[in-house]
Symmetry: D3
Subunit: 259 residues, 6 copies
């Protein structure tokens, strides 16, 4: 029955209102993007993954999940291939900041006092921070000063032991894990019909100099659009990642939103 859904927007308003108006139930907002993810995956990976993490975490801690942000900040060449690539569809920084500011303030108006932003797209990170800062400032101007916001990117919950297990040949670093083992394994575990591993292109991890150039230099990005090869991805690795990240996020939110 939808009235029991963890997805806030699947609830009729009286059910939602009953849950949130006293401020104890947290709301999780997935922030994604529409971004190329190689030849073997669709372009909404960064929406699907944080939505699923948010759903699992919400089930576990009794939270709600807000509608996801379906577009995000511009892809960076050294972490997403670059915003010059076909398919990648991005917002200006100010737009993302404003949208997040607005939505946080609206949830606070409903009574929500515990918010968790579940980021699925690396490049969103700093604009999320600015959106939060502006929202909290305006809420204070309006007399609301007890909203607490946790921000996280799910991959930051993968601990070193898991990394060692998943990347036996060495970990390339999260920045170039774009369309690589992490995301592909998660997609294989969650949405296998959307992964075409046979189309994935094997290539050495992308290697960038210690600086950026604008406009981006197309030759720096592998032709596939991925920054490390997804060939070693597997459904099993995906399940391990799901497990470790969900547990980590659940613990984090139990710590920050106790009782």
């Amino acid at each position: 029955m939808p009235a029991d859904s963890v997805f806030a927007a699947e609830l009729p308003w009286p059910d939602y209102d009953a849950k949130v108006r006293d401020g104890t139930v947290p709301i999780l907002i997935p922030i994604g993007s529409m971004e190329q993810h190689g030849h073997h995956m669709p372009m909404h990976v960064d929406v699907l993954l944080p939505v699923e993490f948010a759903r699992r975490v919400a089930e576990s801690i009794g939270a709600l999940v807000a509608p996801p942000f379906t577009y995000g900040y511009k892809s960076h060449q050294k972490s997403g291939g670059g915003n010059h690539l076909p398919g990648t569809t991005s917002l200006d920084g100010a737009t993302l900041v404003a949208a997040l500011r607005d939505v946080i303030k609206e949830f606070a108006r409903h009574g929500v006092r515990r918010i968790c932003l579940v980021n699925g797209h690396f490049e969103n990170s700093w604009f999320i921070i600015e959106g939060i800062d502006l929202a909290l400032r305006e809420l204070r101007w309006g007399g609301i000063d007890d909203v607490k916001i946790v921000v996280l990117s799910y991959w930051d919950f993968v601990d070193k032991a898991t990394i060692a297990k998943l990347y036996p040949d060495g970990f390339p670093g999260w920045e170039i894990e774009h369309g690589g083992v992490l995301e592909t394994s998660l997609m294989l575990a969650l949405h296998p019909h959307m992964v075409h591993l046979e189309r994935a292109i094997e290539h050495a991890p992308a290697s960038f100099p210690p600086y950026d150039v604008y406009p981006p230099k197309p030759e720096w990005t592998p032709q596939s659009g991925t920054l490390s090869s997804p060939k070693q991805a597997s459904e099993e690795k995906g399940r391990i990642l799901l497990d470790v990240c969900v547990r980590g996020i659940v613990d984090a939110l139990r710590t920050e939103f106790p009782g």
Copy 2:
């Protein structure tokens, strides 16, 4: 196979790129909201419906559907009950304008030259227009002047004959068709498990004076949040509406995007 999906974000980028780069394939962008829709329906009705219209139309004319806008402009008391209601989660006008401007420009960068905005939330209408105007202006500054954009709200394709059939006791007008027969019937036809018609509240059509008041006067909005009673909604009416609107939109786009 996902690579055949009409949903642009379900495609790997090479498939998307192959479809759009010459500019003939239209892209349809559903624009919704998170807004209370009475006791009997969830709060993402205005996302679900335009996404489904867009999907059906895209299947029919060989178009693509972009990720939906999941948040929209503030609910207006006389067309959506008012933005003071719990659950309704809205953007400032400038935010919606900027988001739409950004996304249109990105699709144009990919090569898209035919865009259709499929609106599911009445209050978005004028901010969509402004977003288009700014996008086309900036595209012209960048040397692109051949993008054509169609904007529509699906209910405008319900013709008088259909209205007479669906509202035998008289049509209350689209403005107060908020959570009423139109939307509820469509949801019954498409997502029946999300409709709790037994929880719907019968009430006379909301009646407003010929002016607005701010801050909104809560007593003007029926307690249910709907502006007309959904009790006469039915799956069959939903199918009729689906049919007439899809056909109308398909015809419109065939006219505007020929060949």
Copy 3:
């Protein structure tokens, strides 16, 4: 004697201050545009009419009239012919929103607590709403939460009986009443020397499909720039309209701003 003028800006400040500082006297702000109105009328019809309505209403209820907004939002093809037409001189949405926000806040600083926005240009409607919302928000941040704002477009006060009398051959709808019988009759009653009815062009009511196209398609707008023929306009109809609208607005404001 000017110190008795209903026009706020015609008063020396001590007279204005004495009237407004306790908050009971309403102020009416006419919001117009500079927009083509066919071959037979000037381009400030949307300023002249709301100024005159505001003046008559203010005389009747003891209110003041603020200086009008002389420019408005972009003309929409299906309600004003389109913003591509010569002479039409419009603001971006954000500009109109900001100007209205600023002015409302200033009147509130003076002590005004009752504001009525008298709109004369259909396309302004939603940007007026956003301007009000931002103004009330910022006033609340500054500790002022007792400002009440009524918004109206004068034509919404024409009742069905009057419509039947004025449009014996059927009412085309307010949206295409651009430069048609309504506005032309009012101008004939108020500023006959500015109306050149002999230059008006007879044409069938403009007929649009149930969607918009951008950039506008010039062939959709009648060559005259009007959307329905003004040929049936008359001074007498203008007097009837003046009467019914002024009475309606006076009643509305007496209801909303009692005592």
Copy 4:
């Protein structure tokens, strides 16, 4: 006959279009304010005066006058008494900049290539400059690089000989000529029924230290709101001022907009 009016908005669009589309006819835009002007004058002095200067100049050189800006930038304590005073109703700087930018671009769209901004409110000056700069920049982006704009404040055309004649006891400087001899004399010559010289308050010229303080110090502004006494104003001085300023502006525009 209105079609011969110098006021652009009094023309039907075909007449306006015929005049402006080849770019030779200049358009003059009066920029005013709603600002207290002492006990003896209304609050739209800064609108009435530039409108009348623009009208006279336009008659003389065959130009058009655009609708005035009825609100302006915040009153400065040392040139207008301060924005804390009752009645003064001002815009944020960004709002005035945006409005002017928009309007200039619209006139350029119509074909206008010669624009003169006739300022009546000292505090507008720098925001006018920024509005012009942004408009010209955006016009260049759109491929229009031949718009020429003259900006002036009418009082800058009063030459030293006239000053000596009008201020036999010494000239206090334009900055504190707020509600003083200049403006009052002009109003006596043009709109005598709006001047209540008997209510004017004699006081020594306001004297300020060589710095500003915010928030303004109310005790720095004379109680009347004027910064120099208007008691020596006269209709005759007004006529002299009108004459010298109109001649000066006409000469300037003939120089800058020849042929």
Copy 5:
């Protein structure tokens, strides 16, 4: 020892914190520009001079000096030669306003309640005022209403007696004192190794009509970029100017920030 520096940013935070947290110690913010100053002077004159004035004043009254604004508003043709000149590197008005607003609010967050803006670039003046107004407004929204801000341009403290002494042949007016005797003498007294007086170009004071033209007319600005000749500058005049301005500013701040 740096912990005794008047330059706030040279202090470790505990020393800074100890000084400012009770609000009595004023902070002086120099606002400059990067702007051509003729053939004989560098382009950061408008930074160097207000920094040095601020330093001397701060030493004298026990204040602190904030890091300077190194870029300012666009150069105006009649006061700085025009923003079309090479080397001049300017901000949009909105950028300067926002930067100043942000910085003022941050100092207020630290506890500062007395701020003095020391302007070195004429064109910044009105954008400084707007920045202050926005900062004080937002501080009020946040519950802080006891910040007092003094704004000054150092040259306004040169009294008539000094002017007579420094300009024996007549004073051209501050507006065209761009790269002339005032600035050059001050630089000779403070940074003589940066002044190449032998490269300065003698020319008559720039003479402008009583209006502005945009785009600027290059032929109005002397080829050197200065608006009056610096040839009469001297180190001694610089010392006189330093002395009179520092004394004037010290007196002003002792008056406004007593005890």
Copy 6:
């Protein structure tokens, strides 16, 4: 002789113009902040260091150094201690973006085609990227499409061998190198009189959970404000860092700006 300075603003405009107008000479813009850096260092470390790196690199490759940005984006708790700390004085994201956009466009107007942003404050990174993107977009609108921009943070040029040498007990990671060995050693090598190493507080490296919380939790930041202990800093390490970073940046710019 200043006319030979690498600091652009120390040059008279003709010297600057001669260097930059053909586009081959790069300009380096240091981007800093005013931010607490522990008990032992001043608050403009993030300005002093990139200015000095820029100066050395410019000397080496024949480039110019622009005036630094003296304020930066808000301090992040996990990389700078948090923006709630006294002394830290930051800009909103939009302000930094706009300032950088404006300045880049101005240098391009002068003819500069090679720009290097030398960042000294981690939190600026993403707003720098957005500023560049907006600047390049607007430059393209204005017909300039050959500007190339390199962005770097100097610490990214410290190679693994150097890290091993400098941090024999293990490298804590750049993120918490706030006021630690890196910055302190560089300051000891460059500005030893500004470092009070005896006041530095020994503490274990700050340890944060894999998420952020807003408002920041003061207890997460060590009382000193540093995130890792600077006690192992030394002048010699500073010289090593200077050497390796300067060489790295010089090589990068020779690669990207050849010939």
